[in-house]
Symmetry: C2
């Protein structure tokens, strides 16, 4: 049975949503959860019938959001350090954390190590599209100032993820740029284009809008750019929803209309709510680490756990090693 | 009276929306339009009573969207070349074009020249925010691989635009990055941060979401990044609107609700429709050039003309020269 280590302490709202998310997941899937954190805080949140289904590993220290990510390697008693080390020691197959994302990424990279052929692990996010199918965008924040070969590696890793975890046969892969033409791009993307040219599924440059129209399954970019794309998307969605609310409030007719359309807004929320995704896998490390939002609710943690289980079950890491070799042989 | 040269031929839909946009603008504002293009195509579109209010400058050549921007400087008979040269020769104060945007930017930069202190002109766009006030984002596509000093110049130019053209007193200026903390950013933005530190209105790093929440008036970024942010925003807005439509169609109750909410969607469309903005000013050149979308309708052209008039009227260019001197003196 897959064993998932879960940092119970790092989230913005303490252990409650994390423990609840874990219980929700246990109701639907068979796996062994290992909660890492303060036992005296976790136990009161656990209904008796779950106490023998969930392991608890004691940890007294918590890395706060305001701490420096670089300090994480020294804080060996912290919940995230101990959770990552459970994977390192083979006691868990994957780790989920809603704590300090920089600390999680640093520890997962340094304590678990990179897969053979991977220069830099990348953070993966799944974006909603018009077709209902999600597109894979990476890197959304693990790296800045990526080099061309990094973007090419992200493309390959994203392709394996789309194929194995999302079940997309022969995923198309795009390079995020400021125009579709081959001539577009900055220095780094133009050089990445040359590395990826001819690689299976590579369709060339894609634009910002292509992330959401379903025309491309996997989109590779630098983490500075990916972070901006992600935050911009969230900002636009939140602004549109705010404007709609403001306009509705101004007239009783509109309020009636909105009530009749309630289900529409519910479906939309489900489609664009990050809690439905759960978290962002850090791809390229030995093992599996899912980086969840600090503000994760129980539903987000539940989905992050499913992501970790799927990631481990599909064996995407072996696939990545093989494909990166193909990419490198392409150029010889 | 302000004289605006308008490329009548370059848009995707030929001269019709451009001539109509020009007539719409004439009904509301006093200015002298100079349409540049094929007289035999333009004249039949002009009602008799407008024929003495609109000048036409004959041009036989059109730069197609598929042509290379670099060829533009050789195509001296093209409508956009002639329209830009009307500004160069002092016969017009500003130029509006819905044609090949690369050609427009190249010609405006090379034929009109850069303002004193400007290394690279930048494309400005106005983004909708939750507060109803628009934020100024630049560069959205004139440059890639911008250097730190370029980002700083964009910030200064955007500040002048916000103050003079939008009438925002003491605009706040942010540097687009992957996090708000001073330590965030890539190599280029970190160096730009140091140049801008202490400059009037500079509030440090801002994130993608800050473009739309009204917390910052002016946001500076590289054109590769700005283009992605812009296309991403359009993609998210269009995806949300598509999803809403799809969900509505599935039930008569929802359709009734949507009818009652019609006005809400109309207001929303007005807020996020680029036609309401009109076009993107290329800032930093001697003179004024508004780059409109190839798919501009008459309403977009009308608004682009207002933008050009306001740009010229406010004398923002003199302000830019003075402020760039202040920025440079700051570091001495």
């Amino acid at each position: 049975m897959v064993k998932i280590a879960i940092d119970a302490m790092g989230g913005d709202f303490g252990p409650e949503p994390i423990v609840n998310g874990c219980i929700k997941a246990l109701k639907k899937k068979r796996f062994t959860p290992i909660l890492v954190g303060n036992k005296s805080e976790i136990l009161p949140l656990l209904p008796k019938r779950y106490r023998d289904k969930i392991l608890i590993v004691e940890s007294q220290d918590i890395i706060a959001m305001s701490d420096a990510a670089t300090d994480a390697v020294k804080r060996k008693e912290s919940s995230i350090y101990k959770a990552v080390d459970l994977v390192r020691d083979g006691q868990a197959d994957g780790v989920v954390s809603a704590g300090h994302s920089g600390a999680t990424m640093t520890l997962a990279t340094l304590r678990l190590g990179r897969l053979q052929g991977v220069s830099r692990p990348a953070l993966v996010t799944l974006m909603p599209t018009k077709t209902g199918r999600r597109s894979v965008l990476l890197d959304v924040g693990a790296n800045v100032d990526s080099k061309p070969e990094h973007l090419a590696e992200f493309a390959v890793m994203g392709g394996c993820y789309a194929e194995d975890v999302l079940g997309i046969a022969e995923p198309s892969i795009g390079l995020l740029a400021n125009g579709e033409e081959d001539s577009k791009g900055n220095e780094v993307t133009k050089a990445a284009f040359k590395i990826l040219e001819g690689y299976k599924g590579f369709k060339g440059n894609v634009e910002g809008g292509d992330i959401f129209n379903g025309s491309c399954d996997v989109i590779t970019c630098d983490g500075f750019v990916g972070n901006l794309v992600l935050k911009t998307s969230e900002g636009v969605a939140s602004t549109i929803s705010q404007l709609i609310k403001d306009y509705i409030k101004k007239s009783p007719i509109r309020i009636t209309g909105a009530l009749l359309m309630r289900k529409v807004f519910k479906l939309l929320k489900k489609e664009i709510d990050y809690a439905e995704i759960g978290g962002a896998p850090l791809i390229g490390i030995k093992g599996c680490a899912i980086v969840s939002h600090g503000k994760s609710n129980a539903r987000a943690i539940e989905n992050a756990i499913y992501q970790a289980i799927d990631y481990v079950d599909t064996g995407v890491n072996r696939h990545i090693i093989a494909r990166l070799q193909e990419l490198k042989q392409k150029d010889i």
